[in-house]
């Protein structure tokens, strides 16, 4: 099927400004909208071990105004121009993005460049945002049932502090942050030579280049951030932990495995193994647990893709009175089967079609394209990879999957987090 199906490549032009800002243009005039994505090469993995939560704190700070944009001004400007926007922080990077009618490209570049060069890092903004972040930590993690399980499993999988600590950070570190710490963080990480700017959508290339130079050209570059070590031993840091969750109505569990970095052959194979195991109603675990045994309320699985060592999780919330260890046995049995026999040819066909379908759908949205391109530019220095990634995935065979599952999933080298409701541990 893959021989008969060819996607025309996306048009990609990359270049750099004198100050080191990497720029990638993906013109596409199908719909008169434009998406702008700015990716800064800083994530929680870059944080000092006594200053966790900074990368995420910054995401908040970036909406607090800059020299020429008042507090909350970014959002107001975008809305009044008829656009949408957001930003996110992960272990790997911090990104900011907006989609606007095509003729509003200058507005987006003005807003992004103003905050890149002159973010208002003041004691007042820091105090405000610190409290907002602490509030968010309480609201989304500490006070949600199961809110902490992903942070906990990461601590069990990764030994290297850069990889293991949570993005939201610790209250103590956030409290200890001084305005000088934050200004320094901004100076080092929020520099043009530590960022990628991607434009995707309807624009004239020459106009876009002029505007980018006008708005970003005079921002000074900074010395590169310090080198980062994200190496890991093969073993997970901890095999078992029982966690008492006072807000959880039911018990749950999460199993985590450490796997090789994104874009490695094994990573691709394991990503596809995950699809076979837990993705969709016809997946093995859905059929065995949600249907067959009717033993789970919720089944979930996820591949955490990182530039360094990455991970896969599979978890479940069982129905009341159902036996957790039996559910886990079923999961390991499916993994064992996949390691012994690999996926069936029907499953391979499914994977192939799902990959092509995903790839085609992604192309529709200027924002999806901008984000994907930015990742390849930032992580791999090669935005053209967006045009060859699908082929790389399609070249994974059933045998590759069988082998990778055998080596990395069908093993005792995994972490099991048992979540028990309060008072029942």
């Amino acid at each position: 099927m893959s021989e008969t199906f060819k996607l025309p490549p996306l048009e990609i032009e990359e270049y750099g400004l004198a100050n080191g800002l990497r720029v990638v243009l993906n013109p596409d005039n199908s719909i008169p909208v434009v998406s702008i994505a700015v990716y800064y090469n800083v994530g929680s993995r870059n944080e000092r071990d006594d200053r966790t939560g900074f990368a995420h704190l910054f995401e908040h700070m970036m909406f607090q105004g800059s020299e020429n944009v008042p507090k909350a001004g970014h959002f107001q400007h975008i809305m009044k121009a008829g656009g949408t926007m957001n930003g996110t922080t992960s272990s790997e990077r911090t990104n900011y993005y907006e989609t606007l009618p095509a003729n509003q490209l200058p507005l987006a570049l003005w807003l992004e460049s103003d905050r890149m060069r002159s973010l208002a890092v003041t004691q007042e903004n820091l105090d405000n945002q610190r409290e907002a972040v602490k509030e968010e930590k309480r609201l989304r993690y500490d006070n949600q049932p199961y809110g902490q399980i992903f942070d906990l499993i990461n601590e069990m999988i990764y030994k290297n502090f850069a990889n293991s600590h949570s993005t939201i950070g610790s209250m103590d570190h956030l409290d200890a942050a001084t305005v000088e710490d934050v200004q320094e963080f901004f100076r080092i990480y929020y520099a043009p030579n530590n960022a990628v700017l991607v434009l995707s959508g309807a624009f004239e290339t020459s106009t876009a280049k002029e505007l980018v130079e006008t708005y970003f050209g005079d921002i000074e570059s900074q010395p590169l951030p310090p080198e980062l070590d994200v190496t890991e031993p093969a073993e997970v840091a901890a095999n078992y932990k029982e966690w008492e969750d006072k807000l959880a109505p039911f018990p749950a569990f999460l199993i985590g495995w450490k796997i090789p970095p994104r874009r490695s052959p094994e990573f691709y194979a394991l990503y596809l193994a995950g699809k076979v195991l837990y993705d969709g109603d016809s997946s093995r675990l859905y059929q065995k647990l949600v249907k067959g045994e009717e033993s789970v309320i919720q089944l979930f699985g996820f591949t955490d893709e990182r530039r360094g060592p990455s991970s896969i999780f599979i978890g479940a919330i069982p129905k009341p009175e159902k036996d957790l260890s039996r559910i886990r046995e079923t999961i390991m049995k499916e993994i064992h089967d996949l390691a012994a026999h690999g996926p069936t040819s029907e499953e391979m066909e499914k994977i192939e079609n799902q990959l092509i379908n995903d790839s085609v759908r992604m192309r529709q949205s200027s924002m999806a394209r901008a984000q994907q391109i930015a990742e390849f530019a930032l992580y791999d220095g090669d935005p053209e990879l967006i045009n060859s990634e699908l082929d790389a995935l399609l070249s994974v065979t059933a045998d590759h999957i069988r082998h990778a599952v055998g080596k990395f999933l069908n093993t005792e080298n995994r972490a099991l987090l048992d979540v028990v409701p309060a008072g029942k541990g």
Partner: protein, 587 residues
């Protein structure tokens, strides 16, 4: 490392350019570029012999196809005494057919990397499928299979009933659901739009035979339209459609006449009591317009100014200026046969009355004064600007076309949408505000602590009724907090201990008192909150401590009973699901 890879590029075109940026140029937002036109193509329309309408938009942009088979029949067409039947039927379509089991269907659909699903709303039932256009034929076959030949297997139906009943229990713990349940009842009365959910008893009644009979009665081609968007060839598609759906027999379509929603002539207050609730969920609502009403465009522009987003009047007033809430909005719900207007917010309990005051202030203002030209232009800019973004993906475009077709909107509706928005004047905005927002006839619904809410909200309505969360009506007298003896003395410094998830947390309360008014500070580990509007009535203390974090109000609600130098009560905070008990003494 990154700098090196671009070293060579730096020496090309841009090495000699210098940015022409100046501080003056940066000061203000730049002017936009020339606007780019955007046109949505009009569909091709035809009909099969059996009455099935066919709507096709050929679009080769990407090798994808989207199908929607939409029936002009929805939840409101549930037979009497069988609420939930339409929703059950749509959920079960993919759980087994004449030729395939639930698993086989899932495998077939997912093997093509595609999706097939069905859902019901009040007015419509839609079966959708999307796939790579390479598989447009296969997916059409599967769509025909689930629409024409479902079998509603007993074991799958049993699982559906059990899971649905569990969900219903969960629903009644959600204040938003409870508020919606009352609002719908008050606005729509005997009209079936008033039913927001089946009951467990309704679900238990559903059996295979009833589902099958209902399916063959309501799934008829002359009550449906087939909408296709994407990489298809029109003639080939129609030929295939005839092959798969040509034998589908038309049927009798019974269009029920429904009772009209009630006419109101006074303001009512309905409270759903959630004791200890830190917040009041407020809904102020009256009957609005159906989707095809000629006032639709001025109304959506008016709504954008009044309360549709974070720059709107209601939001700026109740959240940004007063700090009563995280979010306050207005909404127009325009369905096929009728619609409603709603103003909503979740506010801290102690400012329920104040919030109502501000809501009515804004509802009166938009009727009595014309909106500013700037405000009008900002609203229009948002609505027209965001339009192409909504149509960017095939899914988005398909949704726009499905709506235009199902509601019977004019042929050029999408093509003239932005012109119609831009044509709205300040006079039109005022006219529709006066006509369709009727503050003297609204229903006020509040889900919150009735004891606290009733005294604050009573004066805003002509009548009041109170329910518990199960929907059982309560006696108003139960909630009237009378003068229970002399006003307690609460001034001074209190050391309290809060039971927080099994931990004992110390907090202190420093209070000053003037008659029944209390001010002061609450000091906790989560921050300090200023108390500006506390009240003592008899031995009861009610106060809200307001802390500010990043311009966002965080409120702690204190409800306490004072006995000499002892106090006990509860503390609520938005970040904590349940009120926290405390005890303490004055030092």
């Amino acid at each position: 490392m990154f700098l090196n890879s671009f070293a060579s590029l730096q020496l090309s075109v841009f090495a000699l350019r210098r940015s022409d940026m100046t501080p003056e140029l940066r000061k203000n937002p730049p002017a936009p570029l020339a606007p780019v036109s955007f046109d949505i193509q009009k569909p091709f329309e035809t009909k099969l012999d059996n009455g099935l309408r066919v709507v096709i938009v050929e679009n080769e942009r990407l090798p994808l196809v989207s199908y929607r088979l939409a029936f002009e029949s929805g939840d409101i067409n549930d037979p009497d005494g069988m609420t939930g039947l339409t929703s059950a039927m749509t959920a079960m379509l993919t759980e087994g057919t004449e030729n395939y089991s639930s698993l086989q269907l899932a495998e077939k659909i997912e093997r093509l990397g595609s999706s097939v699903g069905a859902s019901a709303s009040d007015d419509f039932t839609i079966v959708s499928a999307s796939a790579l256009s390479l598989y447009s034929s296969e997916i059409l076959h599967l769509l025909a299979e689930v629409v024409l030949r479902p079998t509603f297997p007993e074991s799958e139906l049993d699982l559906y009933r059990r899971n649905t009943i569990e969900n219903l229990k969960f629903q009644r713990s959600q204040p938003g659901f409870l508020a919606g349940e009352q609002s719908a009842r008050l606005v729509y009365g005997e009209h079936p739009y008033s039913k927001v959910s089946p009951t467990a008893a309704d679900i238990e009644k559903i059996d295979r035979e009833t589902l099958a009979k209902f399916h063959s009665g309501s799934f008829v081609p002359n009550n449906a339209m087939f909408i296709v968007v994407g990489d298809v060839n029109r003639d080939e598609f129609i030929a295939e459609l005839n092959e798969l759906f040509g034998d589908w027999q038309p049927g009798v379509v019974n269009k029920k006449a429904f009772p009209e929603p009630p006419k109101r002539n006074s303001r009512s207050l309905t409270i759903v009591d959630r004791p200890g609730s830190a917040q009041s969920n407020i809904v102020i609502t009256n009957l609005g317009v159906k989707r095809v009403d000629p006032d639709y465009f001025p109304l959506i522009v008016m709504n954008q100014v009044l309360g549709a987003g974070a720059s709107s009047r209601i939001f700026m007033n109740l959240r940004e200026e007063k700090g009563y809430t995280y979010g306050a909005y207005t909404r127009l719900e325009s369905k096929r046969l009728a619609g409603d207007f709603e103003a909503t917010a979740e506010v801290r309990s102690s400012v329920t009355g104040d919030s109502l005051k501000e809501f009515f202030y804004e509802l009166d203002r938009i009727r009595s004064e014309k909106v500013g030209e700037d405000e009008l232009q900002d609203a229009k800019n948002f609505l027209t600007g965001v339009f192409p973004i909504r149509a960017e993906t095939q899914e988005g475009l398909t949704n726009l076309i499905v709506n235009q077709q199902l509601y019977g909107l004019p042929d050029d509706y999408l093509q003239t949408y932005r012109d119609n928005i831009n044509a709205v004047t300040v006079d039109e905005v005022q006219r529709v505000a006066v006509k369709h927002i009727r503050p003297d006839e609204v229903a006020i619904v509040i889900v919150g602590d009735a004891e606290e809410v009733l005294p604050q909200a009573r004066e805003y309505a002509d009548s009041v009724e109170i329910f518990d969360t199960e929907g059982v009506e309560q006696d108003e007298a139960k909630y009237v907090v009378g003068d229970s003896g002399e006003t307690a003395d609460v001034a001074g410094k209190w050391k309290l201990v809060i039971d927080f998830q099994g931990q004992q947390l110390p907090v202190s309360l420093k209070l000053e008192q003037d008659g029944e008014c209390v001010t002061g500070v609450l000091e906790t580990m989560l921050g300090n909150g200023k108390i500006a509007d506390g009240k003592v009535s008899g031995s009861k203390l009610a106060a809200t401590a307001l802390a500010e974090m990043q311009g966002q109000p965080i409120e702690f609600v204190i409800t306490g009973k004072v006995d000499g130098d002892s106090m006990s009560g509860t503390l609520t905070a938005p970040i904590v699901p349940d009120p926290l008990p405390f005890t303490g003494t004055r030092t």
